[in-house]
């Protein structure tokens, strides 16, 4: 029975991968940092998947560290894609309020999307449910390498996807009505439940009722979710019995919504137009949730730049960075480069690379596009490196060459924004994840071999 033995070894491998003992050192001719500045002749030492030393040519390398010399190459911390639904077989469930979903169950580790992301130099992606929803579920940060979602995962909880732009086939009013009804429904049921708890009714949920004594004891000892914890409702005004309501009294959908309203989830709010920004901001302010919100917008939302300034964490521009409309009188095309507007308004923004946007779906190209349209190089690079890391709360781990950060970086044959620059190697947490010389698909295209 060899197969079960093999299967058993998989979790062991998964656990071993992120923390390899083998340390490596890279000496490179150049390093481009996430803020766009450049250093010559650098040395990077990565140990146990993390950066141990970053310095000049004089850094001493211990005898047992494997040295890689790249005198003509540039090292760069790698591109980060703030949010995308790539690599999901279907980005949305067909019910509108789905806070109980998690992209973990939908990510396909072997999808071409991740392979291509890595080839283009994207070393981490925020994978979120799609826009066709009201509350879409939970996202996570993954690296585009690994055979299981666990191996890929860099951060398990990236927060919840919400959409203020209407679901396909819906009107804007039904979108907002659905959200209000969901919140009001939770409110009603919490108040009702609180009163019944005060009245001493036996209102244990079915799942709690079915627990055996042994399971209850185990739950208590190990603090599992079966453990009854009261006082989970922390949002809104007080009502009778509020403090008595426990986690076990709520189903997964209610719990998800409650976590949102409690302010325990970072929100990724889809606002395809300026109007949606207005509605979203109003709702978030009303619920006191604005501070921990990222607005995911299309380029048309640039008209709400003054509303977005200072609101939440910042903006992710999904899709095409150009906004094109026609003047209703002259019928002339009016083009606006949205990233420039957000930059001028002082709003931190990140760029996406979803197919359908303009130009090659390479984050490096999207950043070069920003430079072409007048943004400073540092701001353009931030949109595909530092800002996504901030939005994820992983700025200490990603997008920087500093001791303690993840040993994640690219080896490039040129400037990260150059048209002719290729990814020679990609290293993720101290592991070589991509090697251009071993890229079979790329070789086939470059050499022009048939299938």
């Amino acid at each position: 029975m060899r197969i079960p033995a093999l299967l058993l070894s998989v979790p062991a491998l998964a656990a071993a991968l992120p923390a390899q003992d083998g340390a490596i050192a890279i000496r490179a001719g150049k390093a481009v940092l996430a803020d766009g500045s450049t250093l010559e002749n650098v040395t990077l030492v990565v140990q146990d998947g993390r950066i141990a030393v970053f310095g000049g040519a004089d850094v001493e390398i211990p005898f047992d560290v494997l040295l890689h010399e790249w005198p003509a190459a540039t090292i760069f911390p790698g591109f980060l894609e703030a949010q995308s639904s790539g690599g999901l077989d279907r980005p949305n469930e067909n019910i509108p309020i789905a806070p109980f979903l998690d992209v973990k169950d939908s990510i396909d580790p072997v999808s071409f999307f991740f392979e291509d992301a890595l080839r283009q130099g994207t070393v981490a992606l925020g994978i979120m449910p799609g826009h066709d929803t009201v509350i879409g579920g939970r996202g996570r940060v993954v690296a585009p390498t690994g055979m299981t979602v666990e191996q890929m995962t860099l951060a398990e909880n990236l927060g919840m996807k919400m959409a203020f732009g209407p679901k396909r086939g819906w009107s804007r009013s039904s979108q907002l009505a659905e959200l209000r009804e969901a919140v009001a429904g939770l409110d009603r049921s919490l108040r009702d439940h609180g009163q019944r708890l005060l009245d001493g009714e036996d209102v244990k949920s079915e799942k709690e009722r079915l627990l055996t004594a042994e399971e209850k004891k185990k739950a208590k000892d190990e603090e599992e979710p079966w453990n009854r914890v009261a006082g989970v409702v922390r949002y809104g005004e007080d009502f009778p019995g509020k403090a008595l309501i426990a986690n076990l009294d709520l189903d997964d959908g209610q719990l998800g919504l409650l976590r949102i309203l409690n302010g325990e989830e970072r929100l990724w709010v889809w606002c395809p137009t300026a109007t949606d920004v207005m509605h979203a901001k109003q709702w978030l302010e009303e619920k006191n949730l604005l501070a921990d919100t990222v607005f995911v917008v299309s380029s048309a939302a640039w008209k709400a730049a003054d509303l977005l300034a200072g609101a939440g964490l910042g903006v992710v521009i999904d899709g095409d960075p150009w906004h094109v409309e026609r003047d209703p009188i002259t019928w002339k095309e009016v083009r606006t480069f949205a990233p420039l507007k957000f930059h001028e308004a002082g709003i931190p923004f990140a760029l996406g690379s979803d197919p359908g946007r303009v130009g090659p779906d390479r984050l490096g190209y999207q950043a070069a596009l920003c430079v072409r349209e007048g943004l400073p190089r540092a701001a353009a690079l931030a949109a595909v490196a530092a800002t996504p890391a901030k939005f994820w709360g992983l700025e200490a781990r990603l997008g920087r060459f500093e001791p303690g950060a993840d040993g994640t970086f690219l080896i490039l044959d040129g400037d990260p924004l150059g048209a002719e620059t290729h990814v020679l190697e990609a290293w993720i947490r101290g592991e070589k994840a991509y090697d251009r010389t071993q890229d079979k698909r790329l070789q086939r295209l470059l050499e022009g071999r048939d299938q």
């Binding site: 067909n94 019910i95 509108p96 071409f112 291509d116 080839r119 086939g169 095409d320 150009w322 094109v324 095309e333 083009r335 197919p355 359908g356 303009v358 130009g359 090659p360 779906d361 190209y365 070069a368 596009l369 430079v371 072409r372 349209e373 924004l417 150059g418 048209a419 002719e420 290729h422 698909r441 086939r444 295209l445 470059l446 050499e447 022009g448 048939d450 299938q451």
Partner: protein, 472 residues
């Protein structure tokens, strides 16, 4: 006469830190002087107009659908050789201005690919014509240089995709016609040129007959007009070369040649030039903007809001297998095809994306590098890139893509300037910065092959289309 009047005042002097002459040579700081719409001198030295700026000739795009719009071929017949796209193109359409602002000053505009022989393409300057709109800025329209610059012949799926065998009640349509196969397409081509040969012989024998379509075919047979064959699959490329031998076409140009790299030795031996279409990317998808087929397909497959409840409550659904597609509203395939056909063309224009999609299985973005490496004469075309309100797929972007995928950088610019001009038969008029050439130039904010560079100044025949030079 009018054009002479327009050119009188067209004088311009531009200096740049690097000047690409268009034939591959690059000068340091140099000044280009234009007078009366023509370049009169290229001299070293001068005070550059902008820091780090590069100067190139106006780009020449040898394969576009500028201003062509929808329904550009006559559907009632499959051979419409005498039809001229110059008669139908909207010369003051926005696509010309978009192209001009991206640095394209000369373009070949092609008829659409829905007919086997669609008609005659034209060569235009993208700026300097007379706009129909009285309030438009003067010169904001294309100017036709040659109304009959290429005969478009299509081998491949575009010309028969739409057609079906007439039967039953479905006969009352222009699509109920031949051809429905590659064989049928090639038969149509052969038949047309055979008829043209007989027509020519009869005319030479003194017969008093006249036929505009046959005149166009005879012009192609005699080399007055190049035959431009759209052939993507490698066997279509071979078919085109075979037809050339059969009918002795003196001038043949292959369009797109997506799989041309598979028969590159044959291509090199034939000496036939290729003008590529928009480069495909890694996923065999055309790099030009617009919705992808996946997006369109997804949009076409409507789903009801909730299917679980249907399953629970409705006895009719109770025994349905709960497979992946369960609950989706099924759209008849012919309706979906119609949608897929219509959607990319809506608001955009020409270029038959269905054909490009279906025949792109073995495409590679390295096509230009592979063909150039094999010694195949080649230029780069952007196809429908300018038909979208904006795209990163214009001529300069095709050059950038080609370089990224292995074409030596010094070879790239000539493929969208001098070499493209030579392919169009305008090698002594446009595509180079040299005295006597048309006053077409582009001043770039940096290296034109760098995606971070943009045009600072575009001039067509000395007329300024766009001027974003830094003000002192």
């Amino acid at each position: 006469m009018l054009s002479l009047l327009l050119f009188v005042a067209q004088s311009l002097t531009v200096t740049a830190e690097k000047v690409h002459l268009g034939d591959g040579r690059v000068l340091g700081v140099a000044t280009v002087r234009i007078d009366k719409g023509r370049i009169v001198a290229v001299t070293p030295g001068g005070d550059p107009d902008a820091d780090g700026a590069h100067l190139t000739p106006g780009l020449v795009d040898a394969y576009t659908f500028l201003g062509v719009g929808q329904e550009t071929v006559e559907h009632s017949r499959e051979i419409t050789a005498g039809h001229r796209v110059a008669d139908t193109a909207r010369l003051d359409g926005e696509s010309f201005l978009r192209a001009a602002r991206e640095g394209v000053t000369t373009a070949y505009i092609s008829p659409d690919s829905l007919n086997v022989i669609g008609g005659l393409g034209a060569i235009v300057k993208t700026y300097g014509g007379r706009p129909a709109d009285l309030f438009a800025e003067s010169g904001a329209a294309a100017r036709v240089l040659q109304p009959a610059a290429g005969l478009r012949v299509v081998i491949g799926v575009d010309a028969f995709y739409d057609n079906y065998t007439p039967s039953g009640e479905f006969t009352n349509s222009s699509h109920a016609r031949r051809p429905t196969t590659r064989m049928g397409s090639v038969w149509e081509i052969r038949n047309a040129f055979f008829t043209a040969q007989q027509y020519r012989a009869a005319r030479q024998g003194g017969a008093k007959i006249a036929d505009r379509d046959l005149d166009a075919l005879v012009a192609a047979l005699e080399g007055h007009v190049p035959v431009r064959v759209l052939a993507r699959k490698h066997h279509d490329v071979q078919t085109a070369l075979r037809l050339q031998k059969e009918f002795g076409w003196p001038r043949l140009i292959l369009e797109e040649a997506t799989e041309g790299y598979l028969v590159k030795d044959l291509l090199r031996q034939s000496g036939v030039a290729v003008v590529t279409g928009p480069a495909a990317d890694l996923r065999a998808r055309s790099v030009s903007s617009g919705p992808t087929f996946e997006q369109l397909r997804f949009a076409a497959e409507l789903k009801p809001i909730c299917c679980e409840h249907l399953h629970e409550d409705n006895p009719y659904f109770a025994h349905e297998p709960l497979d992946e597609n369960y609950g989706q509203i099924e759209i008849p395939s012919y309706l979906r095809d119609l949608f897929l056909l219509a959607a990319p063309r809506y608001g955009a224009a020409a270029g038959f994306q269905v054909g490009r999609w279906q025949e792109a299985d073995a495409s590679t973005p390295a096509l230009a590098a592979l063909l150039a490496g094999a010694g195949v004469p080649l230029v780069l075309g952007a196809g429908e890139a300018y038909d979208f309100t904006h795209s990163e797929a214009g001529a300069i972007h095709q050059a950038r893509t080609a370089v990224r995928w292995g074409l030596p950088a010094e070879q790239a610019l000539p493929l969208v300037t001098s070499r493209a001009a030579e392919l169009l038969g305008l090698g002594d008029q446009v595509g180079k910065l040299a005295a006597g050439y048309d006053g077409d130039l582009v001043l770039w904010s940096g290296d034109p092959l760098d995606p971070a560079s943009r045009p600072l100044l575009v001039a067509v025949d000395g007329r300024v289309v766009l001027d974003q030079r830094p003000k002192d």
